[in-house]
């Protein structure tokens, strides 16, 4: 297995569209990195540049410590699984698996052996002689994966390999990918637009937006300390609750004021200066209690049950809609009055101009509820 | 990868064209080889302008193109509209048959129908009350054009219809239905809904048919041989005579170049006027 490095890579198309802007990215040997972001963020482009299917406008590509920027795709010894699978329609599954090895002149015995192994691993034994058109979506996906596995490459590049599967299969295949990663100690770069997939799969996640890297980090880092407003909003479902608030000095203390509530964090920990600020708090972090407890009162609008949890949408007294997750047993009907607590250490503050994270806030020691 | 194709085309198409251009500036008469090949500048072109037969041929060709193409586009559109919705196989078969038949064979068939021992055309004329006496179509300068136009229209209209049909089938059915429920009559539905989608295809058809009509040769050669006399002689046929019968290569080249420049100008003008629409079709 090999490491992959995109060194200050930019890619601008002839029509002026800048798909990647000064992207610097490193995947360690044997690491599973997920590139995630909305459509058009450049994640697929980054993958294709790594594969050699696109040449970067600027920057270099390194694979296994070797500068492969000028090396053709076929010589880079990386395998790619395309979103559309890109199976050879006129060849059987076996021939699909066989193709790359034939191109490398792998002797027949070895080819047979590898096909046998991969087919067993992915459950393809019974469909080896079929053509792609005769296969289900899930089977095709496994053949695409098999085609990559059979090559025993230095690294795997997966371009939204699970996006075309139905929900149940997707979850199953995620686990399968994780198992493969563990068994092969493979270097994998996985591209997806689904933040949940990114969070469950990745050892490290790279969040991209409009060709720029917003943040790189482990899932828990992205969750607890999103570096930008975009990352905070993108990661997590249901998404972040947002409020436009003001930070004000009240004597020695500091207040965060919104129309619907006021919070008193620890002034020593907060790095914000007085002024307008974007406040985010996750539905997962809000606590629902009786009216009067917590920073704000609210009236329940809609309650959606998902398994053992409830998604509660409520209207704050003073204005603003909020979403909270609740795993409790209290009765919550539409119209019920509740109190919402905003734990200070779970607040995310962002500068309205730069959209970057402001450090802090934390609760005043000894004062759990704000 | 392109080399063989490009090489072939360059040799057989471009190179001779340039040669023809060069030739047109010389006197080169294969019947009189002792004259050599003196350079005479634009003298051949001057002769062409003064050549009454050539001017007549140009007039014939232009008139033929205008009439024929108009008929083909109009009838083609009507046919396309009529075939829209008919069973695919039938429509396609009918449309492809005249197109698949070699022009020479079609010309012979039509000549038979007009000028054969018992002319079907005369039968029709008689039934329609147009004339009692048998008409000798190919003997009258004006009448001789009729079989030519009829044959050309018969041969290409179905093909034009097929092209337009392909475009017609891109008209969103909901749009037509909406128009119908809005109370639009058949003509209005056609004009406001179908026609705009049809326009680009029509323009493409117009270009190609016009170019083809301008180059007409096979049909006339077999049907009338340009006759009676030279009454139905198009430019291509006249040039052919000059080149391969009179063996006047210099003069013939000048005529050829004139034709080439005319078609080129036509295409260029056309692309300028309708170009943006054509390019959009390309996408």
């Amino acid at each position: 297995m090999a490491s992959i490095r995109l060194e200050r890579v930019s890619k601008t198309y002839p029509n002026g569209h800048a798909a990647l802007v000064d992207v610097d990215l490193e995947v360690a040997d044997g690491e599973l990195v997920v590139l995630v972001g909305p459509s058009g963020c450049g994640k697929s482009t980054a993958l294709r540049v790594a594969a050699g299917l696109e040449a970067p406008s600027a920057g270099r590509v390194w694979i296994g410590g070797r500068d492969v920027t000028a090396v053709a795709a076929g010589e880079r010894d990386v395998a790619m699984v395309f979103q559309s699978y890109a199976l050879y329609p006129h060849k059987s599954v076996r021939q699909n698996l066989d193709f790359s090895m034939r191109m490398r002149r792998v002797p027949r015995a070895e080819r047979e052996r590898r096909i046998g192994r991969v087919a067993a691993r992915l459950g393809l034994e019974r469909i080896l002689e079929r053509r792609p058109a005769e296969l289900s979506g899930g089977q095709r996906q496994r053949v695409a994966l098999g085609r990559a596995l059979v090559r025993e490459p230095q690294a795997f590049l997966l371009d939204e390999p699970l996006s075309n599967l139905d929900a149940r299969l997707r979850v199953d295949m995620r686990a399968e990918l994780a198992r493969l990663h563990r068994d092969l100690a493979a270097t994998i770069v996985h591209v997806t637009h689904d933040q949940e997939e990114a969070m469950t799969l990745g050892e490290r996640i790279v969040v991209l937006r409009e060709g720029h890297i917003e943040q790189v980090g482990r899932p828990d880092e992205l969750w607890r300390r999103p570096a930008t407003e975009f990352v905070a909003d993108f990661i997590g479902s249901p998404g972040m609750n947002w409020f436009d608030v003001r930070v004000e000095e009240v004597g020695e203390a500091v207040a965060i004021r919104a129309d619907a509530f006021e919070l008193r964090p620890d002034p020593a920990a907060l790095a914000a200066r007085p002024g307008p600020v974007r406040l985010g708090i996750r539905p997962h972090d809000l606590s629902i209690g009786d009216p009067g407890t917590g920073a704000s009162n609210a009236r329940v609008e809609v309650v959606q049950s998902v398994g053992g949890t409830r998604i509660v949408w409520a209207l704050l007294e003073g204005g603003g809609r909020v979403c909270a997750l609740d795993s409790g047993d209290r009765a919550l009907a539409s119209g019920a009055a509740v109190g919402l607590a905003f734990p200070c250490e779970r607040l995310h503050l962002f500068d309205p101009g730069s959209h970057r994270r402001i450090e802090g806030p934390a609760c005043i020691p000894g004062n759990a509820t704000p | 990868m392109c080399l063989p194709a490009v090489g072939s085309i360059a040799t057989v198409a471009l190179f001779p064209l340039l040669w023809a251009g060069w030739e047109s500036l010389h006197v080169h008469d294969l019947r009189m080889p002792w004259l050599g090949r003196p350079f005479v500048g634009l003298a051949n072109y001057a002769e062409a302008i003064g050549d009454a037969r050539f001017r007549a041929a140009l007039a014939h060709t232009a008139a033929f193109a205008a009439v024929s193409v108009t008929l083909e586009l109009v009838l083609g559109t009507l046919l396309a509209v009529a075939l829209d919705g008919a069973r695919r196989g039938v429509a396609r078969t009918a449309a492809l048959l005249p197109w698949a038949i070699p022009t020479v064979v079609a010309a012979l068939v039509w000549r038979f129908l007009f000028d054969g021992p018992a002319s079907a055309a005369n039968e029709v004329a008689r039934l329609l009350g147009l004339s009692d006496a048998p008409i000798v179509w190919l003997a009258e300068p004006w009448l001789a054009w009729v079989p030519i136009v009829v044959a050309d229209v018969w041969k290409t209209t179905p093909f034009v219809a097929l092209l337009l049909l392909a475009a017609l089938q891109n008209v969103p059915a909901e749009l037509v239905e909406a128009a119908r429920s809005d109370g639009a009559g058949a003509w209005q539905r056609f004009w406001h809904v179908s026609f705009p989608t049809l326009r680009p295809a029509l323009l493409v058809a117009l270009l190609f048919r016009a170019l083809d009509a301008f180059r007409i040769f096979d049909l006339v050669f077999v049907l009338t041989a340009g006759g009676p006399g030279t009454a139905t002689e198009p430019v291509a046929l006249y040039t052919f005579q000059v080149l391969l019968r009179d063996l006047r290569f210099g003069y013939g080249s000048a005529l050829s170049m004139t034709i080439f420049l005319a078609t080129f100008a036509l295409a260029w003008l056309y692309v300028r006027l309708a170009g943006s629409e054509l390019l959009e079709r390309e996408r």
Binding site: L53, A73, G74, V78, M80, F82, A86, P89, F99, S100, M103, R151 | M1, C2, P4, A5, V6, S8, I9, T11, V12, A13, L14, F15, P16, A20, V81, A82, A94, L96, L97, P98, A100, I101, P102, V104, V105, L108, V109, F112, L113, A118, E123, W154, T156, F208, D212, R215, F217, F221, T239, F240, L243, F249, S253, S256, M257, F260, T263, F264
Partner: protein, 266 residues
């Protein structure tokens, strides 16, 4: 109303052919009485007479040879060029495509004389290559256009997967793209064959006699002793057209798909 119009149109299209066919199957004397709307008696005398016109059969043979050779050459050359134009990026690509298309708009008459002189200089007048080479050159634009249109629609990812697998561009063309292009190749092949079968001007100009003249020329020059032998001519028309018509009808769906993709002139 539409139904009626459709029927009328189809009748108008089929009628001339029908009349020609029935005439070819009617005895000579019958031809003078009037158009044969419905044949009362069938006679094969014209077809038998055709048997003695050796020129015609030579013409058929020559057409077959020339058309086959041209198609066999045109397809690989055109497919190669089309692939390069569709997938590879190189300077002058757009110009090349435009120039290729432009040659399709040439008035052939403009080329006839220099081409004749060229062929004469190479000793190729009245030979098979003397026809095949010009035909290939003029069939290529159509081939290239149709194939480029088709190739552009093939998902590029399949070829990219092959490249990643270590295949060279040539291998990709040969083992991946061409098999997938089979339907388009078939349609293009048929169109090329038809073009050669139909071509008249070059065949007339570049051959000197029945030994190498193709079918259209042979038919056009079919002359009787004293008058035009219509019966024989029509029989020849039927014989030369029937196989081609059958071919077209058998592949009509392919052909229309191919033409619709490129929307080309007839």
């Amino acid at each position: 109303m539409k139904r009626l119009a459709t029927l009328a149109a189809l009748a108008a299209i089929a009628l001339p052919l029908w009349l020609a066919a029935t005439a070819s199957l009617s005895p000579e004397a019958r031809l003078f009485e009037g158009p044969v709307w419905l044949p009362r008696e069938l006679a094969l005398e014209h077809y038998r007479a055709l048997g003695s016109h050796g020129d015609f059969w030579l013409g058929l043979r020559n057409s077959l040879v020339v058309a086959s050779l041209t198609t066999a050459l045109c397809l690989p050359i055109g497919a190669l060029c089309a692939y390069a134009l569709a997938r590879l990026r190189f300077p002058g690509r757009a110009v090349l495509l435009a120039a290729t298309m432009a040659t399709a708009m040439f008035p052939q008459i403009a080329i006839v004389s220099p081409l004749y002189l060229l062929l004469r200089a190479l000793g190729l007048v009245h030979t098979y290559p003397g026809l095949v080479v010009p035909y290939v050159s003029f069939a290529l634009p159509l081939t290239v256009w149709l194939l480029v249109g088709f190739l552009r629609q093939l998902p590029a990812e399949i070829e990219q997967a092959a490249l990643l697998d270590g295949a060279s561009r040539w291998r990709v063309w040969f083992e991946i793209v061409m098999p997938l292009a089979a339907p388009a190749l078939a349609a293009t092949g048929i169109l090329t064959f038809l073009y050669c079968w139909n071509e008249f001007l070059f065949a007339l100009s570049f051959t000197l006699g029945p030994e190498r003249q193709t079918m259209p020329v042979a038919i056009a020059l079919l002359r009787g002793q004293y008058q035009i032998p219509w019966g024989t001519i029509l029989a020849a028309a039927v014989v030369s057209t029937a196989p081609v018509a059958a071919l077209v009808l058998a592949f009509q769906r392919r052909i229309t798909a191919g033409l619709a993709a490129g929307a080309v002139k007839g």
